[in-house]
């Protein structure tokens, strides 16, 4: 294993993109993700890549669309309000079936909101965000190491299925430093015979487009895309189980909320409460089967999230409302303390 280095989450993510072979980054500054752009600005010129600070978020995402359509690995990053601006372009990318990585280092909203960490873009990330029938694959790192490993994974998974992939994280994970091992990993590359990179001896030109004025055709495109989504749901679900073996109360939390929850679980176990956690690593596809199985043996669930309660809907759907689901939440840039989570665990244990 390589020697560990101290890095910010945002920097580890940027380095991971470079490791994955991304040589085209288009961005626009916004707190708390600006380190990603700063890192790319420093590194890309040295390795023959392109760093471009676009005139706006809208421009940046369309540059990503263009680069991805030409078959190269490209990425953009922003924070919540910027992702709203990019959402039109993201919908077009989904419609064009072009793979790329989009990073959202969330901050409190709605509107211009604040700059402190949040998870309140869960709906936006997992339910579409832009218009039309589509999903992104959504990965939620909970450590600086995962900012590195999941970003590489994000590029692979996007290319494999031709689905834009989002890294959904927050200001805490982006800003914090932890030891990270930048192991030399073997990155999977994929042929892209569909890409618009010149005719290259083919008898036809590849056209990347999301427009179809024939409803029969557009319907078929959507059907085909949803078939790929089914494969992703079958093959790509990732989650971590923490102290679930004998758990009677199951916490569901991702990202920084899962980190706080780990402290709370250790504390609650000292009080004799059998509690564990399922931490979704893919938010879409959501680990429905793992939660459904947990519902067979747990008596209550607690959804811990930095929003007014968004993921909780998916928890209830996954367990088909068979067990009560409590909400432990803070919003607007506030983070719950482990004590607040313990209090909910105690409440859930008495149900």
């Amino acid at each position: 294993m390589a020697e560990k280095v101290l890095m910010k989450g945002n920097e580890a993510l940027a380095e991971a993109a470079i490791t994955a072979g991304c040589r085209h980054y288009f961005g626009y500054p916004i707190t708390p993700q600006t380190e990603v752009a700063a890192y790319m600005a420093k590194r890309m010129p040295k390795i023959g890549g392109t760093f471009l600070q676009a005139e706006s978020e809208v421009a940046a995402i369309n540059m990503v669309l263009g680069a991805a359509a030409a078959g190269v690995r490209s990425m953009t990053s922003s924070s919540s309000p910027g992702i709203s601006l990019k959402s039109e372009g993201i919908s077009y990318m989904a419609g064009c079936d072009v793979p790329a990585v989009i990073v959202n280092v969330e901050r409190g909203g709605p509107g211009l909101g604040g700059i402190q960490p949040s998870q309140s873009d869960y709906f936006q990330a997992t339910k579409g965000g832009g218009h039309g029938d589509y999903h992104l694959i959504v990965l939620a790192p909970a450590s600086v190491q995962e900012m590195y490993s999941l970003t590489i994974k994000g590029f692979e998974i996007a290319d494999n299925y031709r689905i834009p992939t989002m890294i959904l994280t927050d200001g805490t994970i982006g800003q914090m430093m932890e030891p990270v091992s930048l192991d030399a990993v073997e990155v999977k590359q994929f042929d892209k015979p569909w890409s618009a990179c010149g005719q290259r001896g083919r008898d036809h030109r590849n056209i990347i487009n999301s427009l179809s004025l024939k409803p029969e055709e557009l319907e078929q495109w959507n059907f085909d895309r949803y078939k790929r989504y089914e494969i992703v749901k079958e093959k790509e679900v990732m989650y971590e189980e923490f102290m679930m073996d004998d758990a009677e109360v199951c916490i569901v939390a991702f990202g920084i909320a899962a980190r706080v929850s780990k402290n709370a679980i250790v504390e609650a176990r000292k009080q004799g409460i059998k509690v564990g956690m399922i931490r979704p690593i893919t938010l879409w596809p959501f680990p429905e089967k793992a939660l459904k199985a947990a519902a067979e043996k747990c008596k209550a669930f607690v959804s811990v999230e930095l929003s007014m309660g968004q993921m909780i809907d998916d928890v209830k759907l996954a367990i088909e409302c068979k067990k009560p689901v409590l909400l432990c939440n803070r919003t607007g840039g506030m983070i719950m303390s482990p004590d607040e989570v313990v209090a909910k665990i105690v409440e859930a244990s008495k149900m």
Partner: protein, 176 residues
């Protein structure tokens, strides 16, 4: 053992930097580490703080709600953290900037006139290292050798000329 250390003061006092030196020392030792800064406008003249956890076991949340070491370099920071610190916590504060007595009896308080010491020794701007030196000596969060290793790693080759002064300031605090 887990050290939960909060560094706090004004932006520009080197708060985040001292945290990074401590975190790097912990890294050299092979401990579990987290370093979490305040970010945004605070870094540009407002209050700044950073939380460093050094532990033998994996770290859950990087957020410190109950610190066992506090380094306060202005009064609002001391006021903010003195009340949440653990019983028995080490409280280090710059007494040349904070004219205040600690009333809590269950903490170990160390007033250090760091800003004055720094200017008296032609080390202006390095009060943070003086505070860090004293903190390492009293709390034992990391050893003297490790904090020196951490410092040498963090001060980049580009700023090698600054290393000597930082070492001097760290020693000044350590021997205070």
């Amino acid at each position: 053992m887990t050290s939960s250390v909060i560094f706090a003061g004004f932006g520009g006092q080197g708060i985040l930097f001292s945290g990074k030196v401590l975190a790097t020392a912990g890294l050299v030792e092979g401990k579990e580490i987290s370093w979490l800064p305040s970010y945004g406008p605070e870094m540009r003249g407002g209050t700044a703080n950073c939380s460093v956890i050094i532990s033998d076991s994996p770290i859950g949340s990087p957020i410190i709600s109950v610190p066992n070491v506090v380094i306060a370099m202005n009064r609002p920071s001391l006021d903010k953290y003195i009340n949440v610190a653990e019983s028995g916590a080490y409280i280090f504060y710059d007494s040349s900037l904070i004219d205040e007595e600690i009333t809590r009896k269950d903490v170990k308080a160390f007033p250090i006139p760091a800003t004055k010491m720094a200017s008296d020794s032609s080390l202006t701007g390095l009060a943070n290292m003086i505070m860090l030196g004293k903190m390492v000596k009293e709390s034992g969060a990391v050893s003297y050798d490790l904090i020196m290793d951490g410092l040498k790693k963090v001060v980049s080759a580009k700023h090698a000329d600054k290393l000597e002064k930082n070492i001097k300031a760290l020693d000044l605090g350590y021997n205070f």
